[in-house]
Amino acid sequence: MISMALYKREMKGSIKLLVIFGAVITMYVAIIISLYDPEVMKTLDSFAKMMPELMAAVGMKTNTANLLGFMTSYLYGFILLIFPMVFSILRGNALIAKYVDKGSMVSLVAAPVKRHTIALTQMTALISGILLLVFYSTIVELICAESGFPGELDATELVMLNGGLLCLHLFIGGICFLSSCLFSDTKYSVAFGAGIPAFMYVLQMLANVGGNAENAKYFTFFTLFDLDNIIVGKSSAIAAVLVLFAGAVVLYILGIVLFERKDLHI
């Protein structure tokens, strides 16, 4: 069970970020999809051929066959990874560690509410935000694609892809949440909650460049989000996404258990 009073407060605290990130995502998705044009794609491909390392680093590859392929190249390498990730980092830290650090956690624990109820509520608030962002992105993508290029986008494939994206973001949220539960100091909570996902993302950029650096892909969880193979429904890619999901579950449970047992110097 969760505390509705607390959930309401936390969702109110998320609104500003959700609106801003929602607006940014809307803008980018609309612009990128409107750019879909075989002619323009040739230009972009030529860019990619001229400076393959740079383009690849941000997930942009050549030979994007159709609209969804085009979208995976230009949206799923940066925009749709970074914005929900930043949301998780900011809110994840604010939901537990900030309260403990500032001492206002007193108001939450000095009440007949179990600690795991508090942690579960905060987790639910974080996941709700992530869900809203991914769900909203899917809607915007569908609307933009349908209005610009009717019939071009396979909705099932998009939903599969965004299901994978959701699992990835739940996993990132799990890292932020666990770090928030573990550390009583905002400093450390942010260092780990933001540091690990950011470092992993950098490794992913390195791996995309190719060559020797490609080995970096074995050290980052972003590899488990295998865009192209998710779209075609390859079972190994689906399994990788399920690994992310299972990892997320473990991270959240661990966070709740740690918070339950933790000494609070507040």
């Binding site: 108001s107 000095a110 007949p112 000494d263 110097h265």
Partner: protein, 277 residues
């Protein structure tokens, strides 16, 4: 039956900080003053009672429930004023009190309005912009509004002006009359001796005395009887020094400060170590 009981509580933070083998109890319906200088271990002890910290060894119980494992049940009947007030800065006082009422699942039937009136508090402004005294008042209202049976008050009058301190002392006295159990920490002897039946003194993490307030007061007050040349002079003297006049003789009493009381118990080491609680 003791409502609050602490048995052999130990938490060692190193460098002589922490609490070491503390034991005391507070009876049902009793007001207990928990006295000690800054950094003596008052707040650490209270955090154990609140279920914030798990005892390294020893045991804390409230109404027979373990303060760590049964903390949510304990909290249902508890009112707490933290030593360091830190609420949600983004809220106004009104919003905060409304949130706490909802969070605690209190109905509209609570003591909020009565308490706001008593402390002349208008909670409309943002908590971030409130003075220390105002925040303290918000803390008092939040601690008392659900009419708890047991009150744990960590230096509850800090930041309040003398008038409000008196009102708070009156409130505590009323609660005591209603049979509430009260544990109140302070670093001022005068404050606890006015309200509390028994007083425990903690110093450097160890309980150094637990006694009836009356006994402590008697032990630590000195009285002098002086004879003045005339009754008129005696009357003026009695008025100035708060003494009791008997013809041309006046008896005045002095109270020792907490520091002097410590000195009395232990001699030397007048300045206690100050530091983080």
């Amino acid at each position: 039956m003791s409502a609050i009981s602490i048995e052999n509580l130990v938490r060692d933070y190193g460098n002589g900080k922490g609490v070491f083998d503390i034991s005391f109890h507070v009876n049902q319906g009793e007001a207990f003053g928990f006295l000690g200088p800054n950094g003596a271990g008052k707040t650490t002890t209270i955090r154990h009672l609140m279920g914030f910290l798990k005892p390294r060894s020893g045991k804390c119980t409230i109404d027979g429930l373990d303060c760590w494992s049964g903390r949510d049940k304990v909290q249902a009947r508890l009112g707490y004023i933290p030593g360091e007030i830190s609420f949600f800065d983004d809220m106004s006082g009104t919003e905060f009190l409304k949130f706490i009422a909802e969070y605690r699942k209190l109905g509209t039937q609570n003591r909020k309005e009565e308490l706001l009136e008593r402390f002349e508090l208008d909670p409309k402004s943002k908590i971030k912009k409130m003075s220390k005294g105002m925040k303290q008042k918000i803390g008092i209202v939040a601690a008392f509004m659900h009419d708890p049976d047991i009150l744990i008050l960590d230096e509850p009058t800090s930041g309040l002006d003398p008038l409000m301190q008196n009102r708070f002392i009156d409130l505590v006295a009323e609660e005591k009359e209603h049979g509430k159990t009260i544990l109140m920490s302070s670093h001022m002897f005068e404050e606890v001796e006015r309200t509390c039946d028994r007083i425990g003194i903690i110093r450097n993490g160890r309980m150094v005395a637990v006694d009836y307030a009356k006994a402590l007061r008697e032990r630590h007050t000195r009285s002098y009887t002086v004879t003045l040349e005339s009754e008129a002079a005696a009357e003026a003297f009695a008025a100035d020094f708060n003494g009791i006049r008997n013809e041309s003789q006046v008896t005045v009493t002095t109270k020792q400060s907490l520091e002097e009381i410590f000195m009395n118990y232990y001699g030397g080491d007048k300045h206690d170590q100050h530091g983080a609680v």
